[in-house]
């Protein structure tokens, strides 16, 4: 993120943190005091989270004031800027990485056999990120074959090592 946009980011973060700290404080106050167990009121479970909530709230307030002074409140979000942001190459690569990894970690692992899900993930990751529109068909095919070979090797080796060497029951 560039320096110019930082006050805007800080403005939004400070509001999120303020909301977070407020909810932590409220939840801490509402935690049971365990009177029925005759617990010392100074050792109740909510005391430390409440303290942390207050401290985070103070920091968030300082950040909010600072961001307002630096005019972070003028977010100037419009359709054109949003579009320009999302078609940046680096942002697309980051979003692609997050999407692929989330599908693997939350969607595939545990639902499909580990070997298969890992094969699919590695193959898709290498296949997608090494894809070049301008490559001749032969090269495209070669890249896919390499991706498949790597995916087979990685999934087989990791599965074998964890299952037979480290005796982990795989998901």
């Amino acid at each position: 993120m560039n320096e110019k946009d930082m006050p805007k980011a800080d403005f939004i973060t400070s509001l999120v943190l303020l909301g977070f700290s407020l909810s932590v404080v409220v939840m801490s106050i509402n935690m049971p005091r365990l009177e029925n167990r005759e617990v010392n009121p100074l050792s109740v479970p909510g005391i430390v989270p409440g303290f942390l909530g207050v401290v985070i709230g103070i920091f968030a307030l300082i950040m909010l004031v600072r961001a307002i002074r630096q005019r972070g409140y003028s977010l100037e979000i419009n359709a054109e800027k949003t579009r320009a942001f999302f078609i940046k190459d680096s942002i697309l690569r980051a979003i692609g990485t997050i999407a692929l990894t989330l599908v693997y970690a939350w969607g595939l692992v545990g639902r499909l056999p580990y070997l298969l899900s890992t094969f699919l993930f590695v193959f898709a990751f290498i296949g997608i990120f090494e894809y070049q529109k301008n490559d001749p068909p032969k090269r495209k095919k070669k890249k896919l074959v390499i991706a498949a070979v790597m995916a087979i090797l990685v999934s087989a080796i990791v599965t074998a090592v964890f299952r037979y060497l480290f005796l982990v029951s795989l998901p």
Partner: protein, 507 residues
Amino acid sequence: MHGLVMFFDGLMEYMNFWSIFHVLWATQLGILVGMLPGLTATMGIALMTTLTFKMPASQAVLILICMYVGAIYGGSRSAILLNIPGTPANAATAMDGHPLARSGFAGSAIGIGTTGSFFGSIIGLLFLAIFTPLIGNLALNFQSFEFFALAIFGVVISGNLTAPKDPLKGWISGFLGLFVAMIGMEGIHAYVRFSFNSVNLSGGIDLIPAMVGVFGFSEIISVMKNQKLEVINTEINRVFPKPKDVIKHWKTIIRSGVIGTFVGAIPGVGEDIASWVSYDFAKNSSKEPEKYGKGSYEGLISAETANNAAVGGTIIPVLALAIPGSAPAAVLLAAMFIHNVRPGPLIMMESPEFVYQTVAMVFMATIGMYVLGMSMVKGLVKVLLVPREKLMPIVFVLCVIGAYAIHSRIFEIGVMVVFGLIGFIMKEMDYPVAPLVLGIILGDILDKNLRRALVITDGDLTPLVTRPISLIIVLLTVFTLVSKMPLFRRMMRQAKETVFGAFKKSG
């Protein structure tokens, strides 16, 4: 003297085939992990913890320490050849290492860097051997107030030093970490906090999956987001440095070693800050400061000595206080707990031999690092050519299985992913992640000790400032916080001007 005997006893224990074999492969793997941008020491140790948790403690910790020493050193290789520090600890190395490589001195830069790392590591382990027992004995006097003050001081100083541009973000990161530790069952009345009726959350957030996320997954996203790396085409000639080229830097080596160890020992600060501080000191006291940033061997050796000295430094508080000096050391601490080694103030009473065994482990790792670092230089450069598109999916597969392996729970994969995303967003917005991790470790200490202290004194907080050690920690914390405030800085400037102005007038 007794310590020296225990050190040799520890060393003798590792003089067998399997230990030496472990030292060699783990250090080499560490060097590789360190070399590859996107694979950091923290991530390497976290993943290695999951691979070694079924081994006996003495071997597993040896492997982790070798990985640690190897990775911090290995990062210098990519800093010199790619201008991209392999781990954050090698950022200062790139300042002079890369210009040297560009001018055709890649071989000698690697040689000098390796030698600096070796001496740094030796200085670090000497301090580790001397200071751990001293601090451990001092910490025996610590009671609830001291531990509470220390926990707050830890996140504040870590926040301060890891985010020098904007310490507020460092402190927020640290306190968020302390909050994360509040999730799950608390240690005094066994009440489950912030679990929202989830059975998984009631057990709390485990450190290893969180760290694999923050230092592994988030790094994968960053590496994929950034531009492709270009390896410079350079001939690597003579690597082994001439003795006189090393001896002439003896002052820099000793200074950087001491600075590195000291900064390393400060909770949650770490090797990266150690090498920058040392680099700055070296530049300020150099006869040729103009060469810095353009290819100064002195600058290179100051950075590389300090980051490896910091490794020994970071282990001092791990052993003596059970508080990590850096993020990789935090994983090391968590791994020790997994292996039923209980570091902390009682270690010098319960198992002093473990302290010296650790010193012996660092020694073995240092020797391994120097031998491996000086050999196979040309072959290893090829590793840097592996494209990120092929490497990163493999790393992510290891992150997933690493997070899962220790407790065999799918939930831990979710923790890893969530913390990875949080880590990525934090890094994008200039929040340091090291204080977050330190906070997760210190949260439990803070929680138990603050409540215990309040009960003991019936809610009276004055012992915080009447007990001497506690008072010192409180004053340091207040100073750390206040020194960064603009008002304080203005006042200091005014005070300085008034005093100097008066002198000028009278002069």
